[in-house]
Amino acid sequence: MPGTQLLMTFPVTATSHTLADYVARDGYATLRRALATMKPEEITREVTASGLLGHGGAAFPAGRKWGVVHLNDHQPHYLCANADEGEPGTFKDRWILEHAPHLLLESMLLASYALQVRNAFVYIRGEFDLPYRRLAAAVEEAYAAGYFGANIMGSEFSCDVVIYRGAGSYVCGEASGLLSSIEGKRGYPRNRPPRLTVQGLFKRPTVVNNVETLANIAGIVARGADAYKKVGTAKCPGTQLVSISGHIAKPGVYEVEYGYPMAKFLFEDCGGMLPGMKLKCIVPGGISTKVLTAAEVAPLTFDHQSFAAAGSSLGSGGMIAIAEGTCMVRLLQVMLRFYHHESCGQCTPCREGMGWMHRIIDRIVAGQGQPEDIDSLVRISRLQDGMTICGMGDAAGYATIGILDKYRGEFEHWIREKRSLLEGNLEGAVHA
């Protein structure tokens, strides 16, 4: 195991996701204690002191987000768990939804108590089937046991939860796009300010937290901020779920303690590359983070500071290991096709820019590229950076510039020779 585990602390069995098993693991005991002995502000104080970072991709401190909500402003507050997991390479929240749905629900109840939320939501991507069924069953179990509804556990606190299913839109994973979707509209992101914690769902203060961020709340309230801070590094406390895929021997979801050596994680915990393959580079945290070559990633430790110093980011924890022999031109083509497909069309730089970049890369792959195409891709990426309502314009640019910076030669070769240096291969090369 890559370090201390805070979430993946129990063996997964046929029943480990059920209420009975969760209660046997002391589930809902923290909620009972908190409702009886803690004030809402004390929970927020504990979460702030823990240094818990958002695990959706931006790593914004959860306590600071919560701190914006005024408890006595005489208006409804809302909480939304973001389960619209859609950043390519990312499938870690699925683990929580499928195997620890009650941990998420208990944590949401604690957060709702802290933020004085009467109505909470889980926004789950529309394609997720088993995760939805598991979560829906858990919600029904929790209602039947009296953990949701009026006067929970005999306290003054009442809370309801609704699972809201998306319908196939990447942009709805962006917090304000998500709220537009819950309002029953197109998932258009909104300009800030106002922040969502000031004007969110139906213009009321709303906290949107990633599923994994929320799932850590029960543990932090149970064991205290100091215990949480003992895990990880001084600047980067706790753990992060990593979903690793690609040409790796043991793909899957791992909980990695911050500060853990990357080489050890990749080559021991994940079993290294597929037989006969060698690591070329990794996408560290979803395709919107810049790729790191094998040489760049080997000396890193798993924490935000280490990855930032290397010019990239841990993002959503969606790691993709890419083997030597993989054509980076074709890989970027797949990425740009995705961004073009998912642009919501609200902002001109993204709506036009994504299509433009996609057409350029298609042209290169068709053997009709021009030498200036590479600079055009860089220029369009820069044009989008910071010029759109949500971060998608920036994200496509990071992905593009990341690959062009390190593998420009492959693009030049395809344009000059009208064919791939690596035969357009995406499946990696096996060395004898």
Binding site: P76, E87, G126, V162, Y164, L426
Partner: protein, 156 residues
Amino acid sequence: MKHLIPEFEKLKARFPAGFESSLVLPCVRRIQEDRGFVADADIDGLVEYLGVPRIQIEEVLSYYTQFRRAAIGRWHLQACRNVTCSMRSAERLIDHLSRRLGVAPGQTTPDGMFTLSTAECLGSCGTAPVVMVNDTYHENMSIEKLDRLLEELKRA
């Protein structure tokens, strides 16, 4: 859609008061499960039931990729072709599916049995490549597994 209104009422009870607008997506999803697609009459019915502007429903229908206005085949095969799936042979899988079914992605077989689509990341990269059949994920797919699956679906 009128026969679904009792179900919609139950759904509404879980939402806070004044959230009628939020019911657009869940109602559309339920209608589509029931009919297979969303018909003009369904939009008329929802406008009347929820009291939301017609344009809101039309916008939702045209925005979200999972919603459709026309019938498709009995089995909807959605093959993911995003980064990890492509790295784990999705492109060969999609070519194979296309040849076996005799249709290009986006088309339905003439007997109305299969509709083939491509998808951009289904959030199942650890078990790539993935093909979704109606609501169910089929993970770690291969050409052999796909052939077996097609035979099963034809008999089902």
